[in-house]
Amino acid sequence: MARYLLKRLGQSIVLLIIVSMIGFFMLHLTPGGPLSQYALTPGMTQETIDRIAEQMGLNRPLPVQYLDWVWRLVQGDWGESYRDNQPVLSVIGRHLFATLLLMGSSTAISIGIGTWIGIRGATHRYSAFDYVATVGAMVALSIPTFWFGLVGIYIFSLELGWLPAGNMYEIGNGSFLDYLHHLIMPSVVLALVNIAIWSRYMRTATLDVINQDFVKTARAKGVSERRVLMKHVVGNALLPMITLAGMQLPNLLSGALVTETVFTWPGMGRLFLDSLGYNDYPVVMGLLMFSAILVLLGNLIADLISAAIDPRIRLS
């Protein structure tokens, strides 16, 4: 086990180095730079831009800049944002909270409802419920999230006035109930697509298991239908879902750009887009490394859990 973990760790570090190199050079080789946003400022001259680039160390050779960045990173210094001089980790940290809140609640909703629909669809195959769920999933998957978002805002905020049109909390309030009130619409809108995905996967996984011999054996032994379903069917059908959930972890933290934009939710997706737009290299690189680590971690955790649950899998 320890050897296995060590091996995975070694692989991960090599992968991270490759990712960081590709990311760093691609980012810096695109024309333009963090100062181009000032090019149209009245009275701005090329001279001034050159002077500031010099002060920021932007005109050093790229390999030097890369090594400098890596050296700092190894020492735990993720650098500072070009936009507001804040340490990259604290910038990420602040947006992470917003994203965790939104993605966490939306994932809870989608997994809960999605697995339930999936199981029920599989046990009541070709029933009216199954048809409605299948069609519903197709619709939810086909319609873009921003459309759901805008329609939701139109109905529930502008027409009915029940829910706020966006934002994470009302400025000056920020109580628990206030957060909850603001959380309802974005998390439900975001969950719609994921409910569809989870329900389809769960339905397929349940169908795979439901006709296997051990399930028939259990029934033959007179185990109650409810117990068969909960213990033997669902337990086994959830196994592939763990891998799926592990792969979802980075998504969970990278945020939902569209939903965050429509609902002015200050999360990671928007941070990434804003930082890219301003060529805020330190933050973009920070986000890249952060999500790369999460992908590796997510896969590792999924593997470990699968091994723990399924005795057929051996880690070596």
């Binding site: 400022t41 009275g43 001259t45 966006g166 934009t261 002015t264």
Partner: protein, 550 residues
């Protein structure tokens, strides 16, 4: 053509109305008399911005929304009124030749300061702070936004806590306008800092302005609180909140839903104007902006060397169709690079006329004959070039297609090659790597009409010049007028020089002027004290005067 005329007149009327509304709105000086501003600051106002303010040291490079916040926190020596008049702010009076503040040759400056100003931390503001600020701006270790003008200042001398003098290396009339945009920073806080580029002050600024720094939630909003000891008018509200809403559609939705009180920069999109006007409980008006949209030419390209070509292209540019079809008739067609509200604007420039026949005729007479594919050529040069702008700017992208079509009718091939913003306005723009560009530029420096950095032959970065003459325009007469303009201090005399300059540039056409932008601004009914000011970059230039009337 007739229908176009009507629309144009309609637009002008709308602008007139907006101007009139400006006059009726409580003005800087008379608002107390007109409507009842509260005695103590009450309530809060949320301003929505579509870009995030992130720079709070007012001497560092900044974009419009940064200006918006800084103008609430800081003061400069002078302010500029909507009419283009200089008003003393931290200074006690505006130095002129008459009051002895300025020597005849414009070289000696003497500025008297107010004696009742305190920094937000209670320390008094003195001439030492002014000296410190003007020295910091030119400090080579400091990441300063602009050194133009400041680099001519010599012998800064603090005469007394309320008086400072200096000498200019050479006469430079635009310096007054530059001082309007140079906000004062506290010596007692920034002075002792080793590294002023990363000082804590830059994230928790201390100014003299109507509002004090409250808190910032990065990526979401920042909160300023009333400064009860403010020396000027206001503030009348307790809290001023700048809320970042990164999408203009969402900005408008939140304006509609009432989540924000003022739809700030970059305002309501023109396509929403018709609906916005009808919203209950909201005040929506069209306000001219100083940005001038033009088809910018790279004058070093062989295609554009000949004036006849530029004239023909201008004649084949259907401005009015673009304004009406794409911009809902809101912008005003223009012939000058200066905003039409500017003191220096020349209203007597020749009027553009969209005329394909005339354009063809000009090119025929100049000897440009149609060759392969109907594209005109002369001496081996084909009238074919690229046009670029920020990709994703849908209105500009559609305008390009309009222009492409009318140019094709005169045997000119224009191919579209758009780029993302960081690429577009990087080296591609500053090093003149483009053929033509569609761009909106504010040519003025505050209210000053000096355009040396844009049109002087010594300001071409691609030819090692210091400036932003990216069109590589060179004209000896223009150079001479620009130099005269900056060394003339009597406004009426400068006006004459700049009228002449606008005439030459209109005649020469290094850029094909299209229109002056107008923005659609909106706020909730009951907010008083909002006055548009074309001489500033942003609507919240004077948030100190905002208050709720209910």
């Amino acid at each position: 053509m007739t229908s176009n005329r009507i629309t144009r007149r309609g637009t002008m009327q709308m602008m007139g109305l907006a101007g009139a509304a400006g006059l009726f709105a409580p003005n800087l000086l008379v608002s107390r008399a007109l409507a009842a501003a509260p005695d103590a600051p009450t309530g809060q106002i949320i301003v929505g911005f579509s870009q995030e303010p992130t720079v709070f040291n007012p001497l560092m490079p900044r974009i419009e929304v940064d200006d918006g916040v800084q103008l609430s926190l800081f003061d400069a020596l002078f302010r500029i009124s909507p009419e283009g008049e200089f008003i003393p702010a931290l200074a006690a009076e505006v130095p002129t030749i008459e009051n002895g503040g300025l020597s005849e040759d414009g070289l000696e400056w003497r500025v008297k300061l107010r004696d009742d100003v305190k920094w937000h931390d209670g320390e008094p503001f003195t001439a030492e702070d002014v000296k410190f600020t003007l020295e910091l701006v030119v400090d080579p270790n400091f990441r300063s936004w602009r050194t133009t003008g400041h680099d001519l200042v010599r012998d800064l001398t603090v005469v007394s806590p309320t008086e400072i003098t200096w000498r200019m290396e050479e006469p430079f009339a635009p310096y007054m306008a530059i001082l309007v945009e140079t906000m004062m920073v506290p010596k007692h806080i920034l002075g002792p800092e080793e590294d002023r580029n990363n000082a804590p002050f830059n994230q928790a600024p201390v100014g003299t302005g109507a509002f004090k720094w409250g808190s910032r939630t990065a990526g979401d909003h920042l909160e300023l609180v009333a400064n009860p000891d403010y020396f000027g008018e206001g503030p009348y509200i307790e809290r001023l909140i700048y809320k970042y809403i990164p999408d203009l559609t969402v900005l408008y939705t939140q304006f509609k839903s009432g989540d924000i009180d003022i739809a700030g920069s970059q305002y309501i999109t023109p396509d929403n104007y018709e609906e916005a006007k009808t919203l209950p409980g909201k005040v929506v008006e069209v306000v001219p902006s100083p940005t001038v949209e033009s088809l910018f030419l790279n004058m070093e390209r062989p295609q554009f060397k000949e004036k006849a070509v530029r004239e023909a292209l201008y004649a084949a540019l259907d401005k009015q169709a673009i304004i009406d079809a794409l911009y809902y008739g809101l912008p005003t067609p223009t012939e000058s690079y200066l905003p039409q509200q500017s003191f220096f604007y020349n209203p007597d420039l020749p009027q553009h006329e969209f005329n394909i026949e005339r354009a063809n005729q000009i090119l025929d007479e100049a000897g440009w004959t149609r060759g392969a594919g109907g594209i005109r050529e002369k001496d081996g040069v084909r009238l074919s070039f690229t046009n670029s702008t920020t990709s994703g700017n849908h209105l500009r992208e559609q305008a390009q297609q309009f222009i492409q079509q009318t140019f094709a009718e005169i045997g000119v091939e224009m191919t579209i090659s758009n780029k993302p913003p960081a690429v577009m306005w990087g080296d591609y723009w500053t090093n003149s790597e483009f053929d033509t560009v569609i761009v909106g530029i504010v040519f003025t420096t505050g209210a000053d009409a000096d355009v040396t950095v844009r049109f002087h032959s010594g300001a071409i970065p691609a030819q090692d010049g210091a400036g932003s003459n990216t069109g590589q325009y060179q004209n000896e007469e223009v150079d001479k007028l620009l130099e005269q303009g900056t060394s003339t201090f009597v406004p009426e005399e400068r006006k004459e020089i700049y009228h002449q300059l606008q005439k030459i540039i209109r005649d020469d056409l290094p850029l094909l002027p299209m229109f002056q932008y107008a923005t659609v601004r909106g706020h909730k009914e009951g907010i008083m004290g909002i006055v548009p000011n074309i001489n500033t970059r942003i609507d919240t230039w004077h948030a100190a005067a905002y208050y709720w009337d209910n």
